[in-house]
Amino acid sequence: MTRFSAMSLFAKALGNHKTWPELWPDAQPKASYDAIIVGAGGHGLGAAYYLAKKYGITNVAVIEKGWLGGGNTGRNTTIVRSNYLYDESAHLYDHAVKLWDGLSQDLNFNVMYSKRGVMMLAHNVHDVQSFQRHIHANRLNGVDNEWLTPEQAKEYCPPLSIDPGARHPVLGAALQRRGGTARHDSVAWGYARAASALGVDIIQNCAVTGIRRGANGAIEGVETTRGFIASKKVGVSAAGNTSVVMQMAGLDFPLESYPLQALVSEPIKPVFPCVVMSNTVHAYISQSDKGELVIGAGTDQYVSYSQRGALHIVEHTLAAICEIFPMFRRMRMLRNWGGIVDVTPDRSPILGKTPVPGLYVNCGWGTGGFKATPGAGDLLAYTMARDEPHWINAPFNLDRFRNGRLIDEAAAAAVAH
C-alpha cells in the first residue's frame, strides 16, 4: 500500500499522478474464506478491516451486490454523536466515537472527521426535561453533553432563530462538542483500502442469492451470482436488505425497511458551523466542506425498497428548516435522494449472533447507522472472531424481542401529559 502523506502527494504530483496504485484491487471470489461479510458498506468494510487488523483473521471476503459504499453509507447526512440516554446505547455509540477519533491516521486515509459539535434543540418543557436527563446520564457515563441557554445556542450557531414568539421556540439545547460529521464515501474507501492491504478480498457486483447450511444447521457458505463461496462464518451487514438476506438462512427478523430521504442545498460560503438537530420540529442540518447545507428528511410511512420518497416529506422538512433558520428560505435545494433504512421495534440495532451457528448480523440501525460505523465494524468483527459478543454489543441481541429487555431510546423521549 502506498502510504498517503503530503510528501507522497507532492512526489506523485511531480510525476503527474501517473503512478498511484488502485485504492483496492477488484478481487475475484476464491472457493472459500475464513470469514465472509455480506455488504460492503462502511459497517461491513469496517468489520473486515478489524477482523484482519485486530483479530488476526485475514482470509476474509466482503461481498457486495452493487458497488461498495453505494447503500446507506453514501446516502446519509454523516452525523456523528454518542449522547444517547441508556447506558447500553451510550457505550455502543461512544465506542464508535472513540474510534472515529484517530480513524484517519489508523487507516492512513483522511475521512474528514470533523468535531464541529452536535446541538439538539429543546422546544418545550418536555424536551428540556428529556435533554437534562440525557445530560446527567451522559456525564456519569463519561460522555460529553452540555446544556446551552438559547443565547449560548445562538452564539454557537449564529443562523439559529431564538425568537421566543416562534411556533416552536428554542428553550435551550444539548451540545455534544465531540459530535460532528465525517465524509461518508471516504469512510468506505478508507476501510476498503486498508482492509485490502491486509489481504481482505473486496468482491463487488456479486449478489448473495442463498445461504447454505449444513446438516447440523451451521453455516457452510453463501451462494452468489458468481458461484458458491464457502465459509464457516458469515456476517450480514446489509442494512435495508437484511430481512431478505436473513430469510435465505431461514430466519425471520423483527425488521421493517422504510424509505428515508435527505437533501442538499446549493453550495454557499461557510455560514453554519455545527450540526443542529431538532426532534420536535423534525430538522437535521449541517454544512458540508463543499458548502452545501446537508439536511435530513423523514421516513415515508410505508415499507419500501424503492429508494424513492414522496415530495410532501421534503416539503415538511424544508418548512421545518426555514422555521428554525428563516434566513435559509431563499436557499435552493440542489439534490434530494432516498435510502432504505431497516428499523427494529425498539429502534435500536441488532448486533451479534443469530440462532444459526456461524451466522452473525449487524442491522436495524434505522436512521442512525453512519455514526456507529467504526464501532459496529469493530464489534461485529469481535463477535465473529470470538463467536461471542463483546460486552458492549451483548445487550443488542435478538433475544430482547422475546424477553422484553428492549432498548427504546425514542420511547424514552415520548411526549405525553
Partner: protein, 953 residues
C-alpha cells in the same frame, strides 16, 4: 447599440431599454433580455470563477445547463439570492447582480493561486493528506478547507417574501413547450383533454425561439392554445420532480422578473396529478473536452445560436466552431448567414456531409476536417486557438474571439428517470434514451430521441499531441473536474460511474452534470476499455434545477407551520397574564404570576390556594372519547388493564392503557354514563394515538363487538375546580344534581346543568383535594368558566396552571405518563398493580407482562425520594447511584422523574425510577451532580394525605 447586438435580430424589445448593474457597473439591455444576453451584448465575457481553481469563466450555455455563469442578485431588504444562472435571470429595471467566489474582484482573484498549484490538488487529494501532525487537523487544516467552501455568499437576513402552493389535476401534463411539446399540446387540446403545458422559460417556444423559420407557426400555435378553455399554460415554471402515480411537483416563479415585485407570493408550488405525462424537455448539447475549453468565450454552439436568434446578440466578431456533430455546422451556417463572421469550422471527422461542407465553402468559411482544437489563447477572453490534425501534425494558430463547441446531444431524461422509467443506450446519440416507462408517460421530440440534429462522433476528449496528464481539459466546469481527474479516478480503482462521480465530484455541481455526465462516462469508458453501458449511469435526482426552500415549504410558515391548538378558555388565561407552555400541539397556561412573582412564587401561591381554598384549572386539552354500544364495557375490558364490566353507571374509574408490548402508553379517568355509554379521557398528547389504537382493535381484531368510538376532545370544555371550597363555589350554579358527599361521592359522575348549560359533572381529583371536573359543550366553556370565576370570588378562587397541577399531583404520587413513565415502564414498575385486573384472562399488553425480563427482579420501580436536606430540590432527569465514590462510568440505578418544591409540606419532594426501588424503602441513594453529591431517602411516592380524607371530603 453595441457591436455585439445585431440590428433586426432576436425577440427583445428594442423600444424598451432596461438599466441594470453587474459588479457595481451600470449597463443597459432590453426588455426580453436575460442577464446573460444583456451582458454579452455589452461585450462582457467574464461572468464568474470556478469552484476549486477559481478559473475565470464565461457563459457555456443559454439555459438550465449553465455551470459557469452563476451570480448573486440582491433586491434589498433581505431579498438576496445566490447562485442564480445568468441565462435564467430575466432583466428588469434596476437589477443588481454580482459575481461570486472571487476576492477581491472578478478580474483579480487571489483564489486563482489554486489554479497554479492545481497539480497538487487532484481529485481526492484531501483523503491523502492533512493527517499529520494530527493536532493540525482541527486547528488548521479543517478550518482552512471549510473556509474555501461554497460559491455565493449565504443569505444573512430572514426572507420577507411569501410563497404559495396549490394542487392541480389534468388529463395530460406536458413538460416543455418547444415544438414537440406544443405539438403534443395541440393534439391533446383537439382531443378535448384537459391539458397543462409548463415551461421553465419566460417565453414559450423552446428551440423555436431561436429559429426564425418557426416564428409564424409558434405565434399561431401559442394563440390557439392560449384561447383554448381546456389548456392551462404555465410559463416560468420548472417541473422539479416526477413522483409516484404521475404526481409532478413544479415551481412557478411569479415575481423575480418584476422590477416591482408587489405583495403577492414570490413563487408557487404546483402539485400536479396527471392522467398522462408527456415529457418534451428537449436535449442539451455536449461540450467538447480539450485544453482551454473553459476560457471565457468558449461555449456551446447551440447557446451561441440562441443568443443570436432569440436575443439578437453575437457571441463574437470572429467565431471559430469546433464540431464533431453536424448540428455545429448547421448552427455555424445559420449564424454566418445572419452576418456573424465564422473564422473556421473545425471537425474531427475526416468526412462530413457534402451538403454542409459545400454550403460552408459557398459562404467562404474555412473548414478543417480531421482536426481538433488543441489549445486556446487568452485567460479572461478568447484570443485565438491552436488547431492540429487528429494525429498531432500540422499545428497552426488561428485568431478568433469565441469558440463554439458542438459535441453532440444529450436528451433530457431527468424526469423520466425520476419516474423510474428504464433507459437504453443509443450509439447513434451517444447517450441514454427513454426505453420502457414505469408510469403512464411518454417522451416526445429530442428528449425521446425523436429529433434529428444530424450525425456525429461520440468521444470522451479531443485528441491532443500533448500528454493528457499535463493539462486541464474540463469535463465538469463548475466543480473543475478535468479529464485527467477522471483518468486518475480510474487509475485508483474507481470502476463504476458512481465511484468516479463521488471521487471526482463530477456531476455534483449545481447543474447536476447536465453537460458533464456523458463526457465523463465516455472518458471512463475509454480509460477502462469497457463499453459505456458497463460503467453504468448515475441516477438523476430531483429537482431538475435547484428550487427555493421557501417554495417547497409553501404556506407552512410561522403560524401556519403547525397550527397551535387553543382551548376556548385560552383567551381568558391570556387576559389574566398566564405564562404558557406548549404541550403536544396545544398551548396551556403554565402559571398565573402576579406582579413581581416568578414561577416559583406563583406556583407556591397557587398550590396553597388549592390546598386551603379553591383553584380553577382549564383541563379542556385532555383527550376525550365517547364509547357507545351494547359491547362498550366488554371493549374497554379488553383494552384497559382493569375491569370495566361491573362499573355502575354514574361511576368513574382510573384506566391504564398498555401497548401490546406491556408498557404503559396512556391513562385517564373514565366514566360510565349509561350501560352502553362511556366517557373516556386520555392524556393531552395521547388523544389521537389512543383513538387510532382503539379503532384498530375494534375494526380488525374484534369486529364482532358492537361499539362506536367518537372523538369528543374538542366538543367539551373541561373546567377543573379543586380544593376544599370547590363544592361551595359551584353549589349555587348547579341544577339537577345533588352535590352532597353521600349522593355524589368521589369518582362519580352526574348529568345536570351548570349556569343553565348541560354538563357532565365529574367528581374527580388529580390534586388530592375535593374536586370537580365540569364538562360543558366547548362553545359554553368560557361562559361557564367566568360564571364559576365570579362565584368563586367570595371564596378566594385562584386560577392555576399546569405547573401547579404537576406539584399537587406529585404530592399525592399520581403519575404523569410520559414523565414518570417513559415507554419502558409496566404497571407493576409504576406501582399501579392495583389497576391491573388479576382475574381478567386477557387485555392488551397482558401477555407481554409475563415475559422473562418483565418478571425479573431488579427492574426500575417508581418510588418517592426525600432529600436529606429538605431545601434541596433535585433536578428532574438527575441520575441515581448507590455508590457515589465509584469512577466514571458509574453504575446508575435510576433517575429522578418528577421533582418540586412543595409549599404545602415546606420541603422538596421527588419521584424516581430506581432499580429494585420497592425493596429499598428507607435506604439512602446518591445523586452525583457537578461539584457535589446529593443524598436522599427512598420513600413511598405519597407525600400528602395518604389516607385520602381530603379527597373524600
Amino acid at each position: 447599440m453595441s457591436a455585439y447586438r445585431l440590428d433586426g435580430m432576436g425577440r427583445v424589445n428594442r423600444g424598451a431599454p432596461v438599466n441594470f448593474t453587474f459588479d457595481g457597473k451600470s449597463y443597459q439591455g432590453f426588455a426580453g433580455d436575460s442577464l446573460a444576453s444583456a451582458l454579452l451584448a455589452n461585450g462582457v465575457s467574464l461572468f464568474g470563477r470556478s469552484f476549486k481553481y477559481h478559473r475565470p469563466r464565461g457563459l457555456l450555455g443559454a439555459g438550465a445547463e449553465e455551470p459557469n455563469a452563476l451570480v448573486s442578485v440582491d433586491r434589498g431588504g433581505g431579498r438576496y439570492t445566490p447562485n442564480l444562472r445568468a441565462p435564467a435571470v430575466e432583466l428588469y429595471e434596476g437589477l443588481n447582480a454580482r459575481s461570486q467566489n472571487r476576492w477581491p474582484s472578478l478580474q483579480t482573484d487571489f483564489g486563482s493561486i489554486n489554479d497554479r498549484l492545481g497539480r497538487f490538488f487532484p481529485a481526492g487529494f484531501y483523503n491523502k493528506t492533512f493527517m499529520w501532525p494530527r493536532s493540525f487537523w482541527e486547528k488548521l487544516y479543517e478550518p482552512s478547507i471549510r473556509r474555501m467552501a461554497g460559491l455565493g455568499d449565504a443569505p444573512t437576513e430572514a426572507d420577507p417574501d411569501t410563497y404559495s402552493a396549490c394542487y392541480a389535476y389534468c388529463d395530460v401534463l406536458i413538460v416543455g413547450a418547444g415544438p414537440a411539446g406544443i405539438d403534443a399540446a395541440l393534439e391533446a387540446c383537439a382531443a378535448r383533454k384537459h391539458v397543462i403545458l409548463i415551461d421553465e422559460n419566460d417565453e414559450l417556444g423552446g428551440g423555436a425561439l431561436a429559429d426564425p423559420a418557426l416564428a409564424a407557426w409558434l405565434e399561431t400555435s401559442l394563440r390557439d392554445l392560449a384561447n383554448a378553455p381546456n389548456v392551462t399554460l404555465l410559463r416560468r415554471t420548472t417541473a422539479l420532480g416526477y413522483y409516484h402515480d404521475n404526481f409532478i411537483g413544479a415551481v412557478e416563479r411569479l415575481t423575480d422578473h418584476l422590477a416591482q415585485p408587489g405583495h403577492g407570493a414570490r413563487e408557487q408550488l404546483w402539485r400536479i396529478r396527471a392522467g398522462e405525462v408527456v415529457l418534451a424537455q428537449g436535449a442539451i448539447e455536449r461540450p467538447l473536452v480539450f485544453e482551454g475549453n473553459d476560457v471565457p468565450g468558449v461555449m456551446l454552439a447551440s447557446a451561441a445560436r440562441t443568443y443570436l436568434f432569440r436575443f439578437g446578440v453575437a457571441v463574437g466578431r470572429n467565431v471559430a466552431v469546433m464540431a464533431v456533430h453536424d448540428s455545429g455546422w448547421k448552427d455555424a451556417l445559420a449564424m454566418a448567414k445572419a452576418g456573424v463572421r465564422i473564422a473556421a469550422i473545425i471537425d474531427l471527422r475526416e468526412t462530413v456531409a457534402a451538403a454542409l461542407v459545400d454550403e460552408a465553402k459557398a459562404l467562404g468559411i474555412r473548414t478543417e476536417l480531421g482536426s481538433a482544437v488543441i489549445g486556446v489563447a487568452g485567460r479572461q477572453a478568447v484570443k485565438g486557438i491552436e488547431v492540429s490534425r487528429a494525429d498531432g501534425s500540422m499545428r497552426q494558430k488561428l485568431a478568433c474571439d469565441a469558440v463554439l463547441m458542438a459535441g453532440g446531444w444529450t436528451p433530457s431524461v431527468h424526469l423520466w428517470s425520476h419516474s423510474l422509467g428504464k433507459l437504453a443506450w443509443s450509439d447513434d446519440w451517444g447517450a441514454y434514451l427513454p426505453d420502457v416507462p414505469n408510469e403512464n408517460c411518454r417522451c416526445v421530440g429530442a428528449c425521446g430521441g425523436k429529433w434529428s440534429f444530424g450525425s456525429g462522433l461520440n468521444i470522451g476528449a479531443l485528441p491532443s499531441p500533448r500528454d493528457p496528464a499535463t493539462f486541464k481539459a474540463f469535463v465538469d466546469f463548475q466543480n473543475d473536474v478535468t479529464a485527467k481527474d477522471i483518468a486518475l479516478a480510474v487509475r485508483e480503482g474507481m470502476k463504476s460511474v458512481e465511484h468516479i462521480k463521488r471521487y471526482t465530484t463530477n456531476g455534483m455541481a449545481t447543474d447536476q452534470g447536465k453537460t458533464s455526465n456523458l463526457n465523463a462516462l465516455q472518458l471512463a469508458s475509454s480509460a477502462l476499455d469497457r463499453p459505456v453501458q458497463a460503467i453504468g449511469l448515475t441516477t438523476f435526482r430531483p429537482p431538475y434545477t435547484p428550487q427555493t426552500f421557501g417554495a417547497l415549504a409553501g404556506h407552512a410558515k410561522d403560524a401556519l407551520f403547525q397550527p397551535v391548538r387553543k382551548t376556548g378558555i385560552d383567551p381568558w388565561a391570556e387576559e389574566h397574564g398566564a405564562v404558557f407552555e406548549l404541550v403536544a400541539q396545544w398551548r396551556r397556561a403554565r402559571y398565573f404570576p402576579k406582579a413581581g412573582e416568578d414561577m416559583h412564587a406563583a406556583v407556591n401561591r397557587e398550590c396553597l390556594a388549592v390546598r386551603e381554598g379553591v383553584g380553577i384549572f382549564d383541563a379542556s386539552t385532555l383527550g376525550k372519547i365517547e364509547v357507545v354500544g351494547p359491547d362498550a364495557a366488554e371493549f374497554l375490558n379488553r383494552m384497559y388493564t382493569n375491569p370495566w364490566k361491573q362499573l355502575e353507571p354514574g361511576r368513574c374509574r382510573y384506566g391504564l392503557l398498555l401497548r401490546e408490548d406491556g408498557f404503559i402508553t396512556d391513562d385517564g379517568v373514565s366514566a360510565r354514563m349509561a350501560p352502553d355509554r362511556f366517557h373516556l379521557t386520555t392524556t393531552t398528547g395521547g388523544a389521537a394515538r389512543v383513538l387510532n389504537m382503539m379503532e384498530d382493535y375494534l375494526q380488525t381484531e374484534w369486529p364482532d363487538l358492537n361499539v362506536w368510538l367518537t372523538s369528543t376532545t374538542e366538543q367539551y370544555a373541561v373546567i377543573a375546580l379543586q380544593g376544599p371550597k370547590a363544592r361551595d363555589v359551584i353549589a349555587p350554579l348547579v341544577a339537577g344534581i345533588d352535590l352532597s358527599p353521600e349522593a355524589f361521592p368521589h369518582m362519580a359522575v352526574r348529568e345536570g346543568t351548570i349556569c343553565g348549560v348541560p354538563t357532565r359533572l365529574f367528581r374527580v381529583s388529580f390534586t388530592g383535594e375535593l374536586g370537580f371536573e365540569i364538562n360543558v359543550p366547548a362553545a359554553y366553556g368560557r361562559h361557564v368558566w367566568e360564571a364559576v370565576w365570579a362565584a368563586g370570588q367570595a371564596h378566594g378562587i385562584t386560577p392555576y396552571g399546569t405547573e401547579t397541577m404537576h406539584v399537587l399531583r406529585a404530592e399525592k404520587g399520581f403519575i404523569i405518563v410520559g414523565q414518570d413513565t417513559d415507554g419502558t415502564v409496566t404497571p407493576f414498575d409504576a406501582g399501579l398493580d392495583w389497576a391491573v385486573g388479576k382475574k381478567k384472562p386477557d387485555f392488551v399488553g397482558k401477555r407481554s407482562m409475563a415475559r422473562p425480563d418483565i418478571v425479573a427482579s431488579g427492574r426500575k420501580q417508581l418510588v418517592g425520594l426525600l432529600t436529606d436536606d429538605p431545601s434541596v430540590v433535585l433536578e428532574e432527569g438527575a441520575q441515581i447511584v448507590l455508590d457515589p465514590n465509584q469512577p466514571v462510568p458509574m453504575k446508575m440505578v435510576g433517575h429522578v422523574t418528577s421533582s418540586y418544591w412543595s409549599a404545602t409540606l415546606g420541603r422538596s419532594i421527588a419521584m424516581a425510577l430506581v432499580a429494585g426501588g420497592f425493596d429499598r424503602m428507607g435506604e439512602t441513594i446518591y445523586v452525583p451532580m457537578p461539584g457535589k453529591t446529593l443524598t436522599a431517602k427512598v420513600v413511598k411516592p405519597m407525600f400528602y394525605d395518604a389516607e385520602g380524607s381530603r379527597l373524600n371530603g
